[in-house]
């Protein structure tokens, strides 16, 4: 922080100010108690408290994540359902190959190609996700469409695969055969009996994919110059701004825990067989 040629005395004073001359465990306990009471420390790089930066970043990232989820969930489920209905036929095969291919291409690669096509050549979307201070909802949304597509591409494969597996299981189930045999029409069977049961496992996958989504955000936010949690962690890592880095990573860990818990609760809510307590 003081450069390689700093006066040893100045280094000592700074170490003392920041408390880095104390034992590691003491520092950790101090930081942890501060964190839990809402004091996340001072950023080394900005010389100001970490919390407001973290707040803005989380808000921005959740906007981006929300757009990506709103686009990918219906698309993924639709793709999976179609693949299952056409099981074993070329449509199924194509959807599955496209799905896996989209899932493995790094976000920055699909991002670059999208920027080139829709930002530079066609000029339909802005190539950077920074909007002016007074931008309204639609303007912000407009800026977020392009950055969300790479995330959509990655998640599509996962969600479609789960939806397909769930659908196939439900299609083969006895209750589906019963529904067909009692004379319901095909669409009725699909809507009333198959879909409801098929989408349960998909819901838990969607929730656990948040963790992946955050990893993907790092790259997307850098590529599109977007001020979210990913670019916050990235910049903190580059500048060795440890309080900021710690706070960012803690926030992600906490988010993951919350998302997993919500997924379990939602799953239990939707699936009568595993409601709590085992009361009948």
């Amino acid at each position: 922080m003081l450069g390689p040629f700093a006066d040893p005395k100045a280094v000592e004073t700074l170490n003392h100010q920041m408390g880095t001359d104390r034992p590691v465990l003491v520092q950790y306990a101090d930081w942890m108690s501060g964190f839990l009471t809402g004091d996340m420390g001072q950023s080394y790089a900005y010389r100001s408290p970490v919390a407001p930066f973290l707040g803005t970043a989380l808000l921005n990232s959740s906007k981006l994540a929300a757009v990506a989820f709103i686009l990918v969930v219906p698309l993924g489920i639709f793709g999976g359902v179609i693949a299952a209905l056409y099981r074993g036929r070329p449509t199924d095969r194509i959807l599955s190959v496209v799905g896996i291919s989209a899932t493995v291409v790094p976000e920055f690669v699909s991002g670059i190609v999208l920027i080139l096509i829709f930002g530079v050549w066609l000029r339909w979307f802005p190539i950077s996700a920074t909007w002016s201070a007074n931008a309204g909802f639609w303007n912000q949304l407009y800026h977020l469409i392009l950055p969300s597509v790479p995330l959509v591409l990655i998640l599509f494969g996962y969600i479609a695969r789960m939806a397909r597996a769930g659908m196939i299981e439900a299609l083969d189930a006895d209750y589906t055969r019963t529904a067909v045999l009692k004379g319901l029409t095909y669409p009725q069977v699909i809507w009333r009996h198959v879909l409801r049961n098929a989408l349960l496992p998909t819901i838990s996958v969607i929730a656990t994919q948040t963790v992946y989504l955050i990893g993907g955000l790092v790259v997307i936010e850098i590529l599109f110059h977007y001020q979210g949690i990913g670019s916050l962690i990235y910049i903190a890592a580059k500048k060795k701004d440890f309080p900021m880095l710690q706070a960012g990573v803690m926030a992600i860990g906490a988010l993951f825990a919350v998302a997993t818990l919500l997924a379990d609760l939602l799953y239990a809510r939707l699936n009568p067989r595993i409601r709590f307590g085992g009361r009948e």
Partner: protein, 285 residues
């Protein structure tokens, strides 16, 4: 007795291989991947220009008959750099995958065979590793330890091992109850013998599929880390690194400096996943 068994297994293997070669997905993937492996091995001798020589007079030229993919901001030939760029990522990613497969297989065998408390403790540890995205774990490790290829290798090996361990564990669980394991235990074979000589050969197929899939993700991760400056370091003509050096000028219309590298990464990961998909469908049918 043993003889007939060996021939039958051998035959099964060959039949699988023949079916694999007849699968269009697998062939497609294999052609793409072999192309890049070829570039990594001999590309440096075949390219028309030196990928490292700057030529500032000819910087940012669009594609032409002399420079097929144009030149970058230092005047280096993009075509040569894309071809030679296969080398570093095809060294780092497979090594990382191999390490994580070895570690994950050992972990998974232990968890599945012993069960109980050991399984419980190791499962919680692997869950903890999986709770953070690999890119974040890598960022933290590389910030703390300094950027180096070794760190990249170790980070990927440790973050992928739990996933392989999970696959191996569930495969081992179905084997543990079988008679041949009980027989080996009754013969008082040592535990390492039972794990690696008796059980391991029977769980190889899922390990093969999982590590091929992991190889795709290792390339994904290495490319991503190089793009954000924590992976392969300059002056390597690595694809992710070249994109990160050039994407700032994308608004100026210099598409050739990033497009070909992007397509190279995309084709390589897709190729590997087509191979994985081919192997999986042959083994599962």
């Amino acid at each position: 007795m043993t003889d007939t068994q060996v021939t039958r297994q051998d035959h099964g293997w060959r039949a699988d291989l023949r079916r694999l070669l007849r699968s269009a997905t697998f062939d497609c993937g294999a052609v793409i991947v072999l192309f890049w492996v070829g570039c990594a091995l001999v590309g440096a001798q075949l390219v028309p220009h030196d990928p490292f020589t700057d030529d500032l007079m000819n910087a940012l030229l669009p594609p032409s008959s002399d420079h097929w993919f144009g030149t970058d901001q230092l005047g280096r030939d993009v075509f040569s750099r894309v071809i030679v760029g296969a080398r570093d990522i095809l060294t780092v990613a497979p090594t990382a995958t191999l390490l994580s497969t070895l570690l994950g297989t050992a972990l998974g065998l232990t968890m599945g065979y012993f069960g109980g408390l050991i399984d419980e403790v190791l499962s919680r540890i692997t869950d903890a590793v999986l709770a953070l995205p690999t890119v974040i774990v890598a960022l933290l490790a590389l910030t703390a330890l300094g950027t180096s290829t070794i760190t990249v290798l170790v980070v990927i090996a440790f973050s992928f091992a739990p996933i392989i361990a999970r696959t191996v564990r569930s495969a081992v669980l179905t084997e543990v109850g079988l008679d041949y394991v009980a027989a080996a235990e009754l013969r008082r074979e040592g535990t390492p013998y039972i794990l690696f000589v008796e059980i391991l050969p029977n769980v190889l197929p899922p390990i093969l599929v999982e590590s091929t899939v992991r190889l795709g993700y290792a390339i994904f991760t290495v490319a991503t880390l190089s793009f954000i400056g924590f992976g392969i370091q300059p002056p390597s003509p690595d694809w992710g690194l070249s994109i990160s050096a050039n994407y700032g000028m994308i608004g100026g219309g210099f598409w050739w400096t990033v497009l070909f590298d992007s397509l190279a990464i995309a084709s390589l990961v897709i190729g590997i996943n087509l191979i994985a998909d081919g192997i999986e469908s042959v083994l599962h049918d």
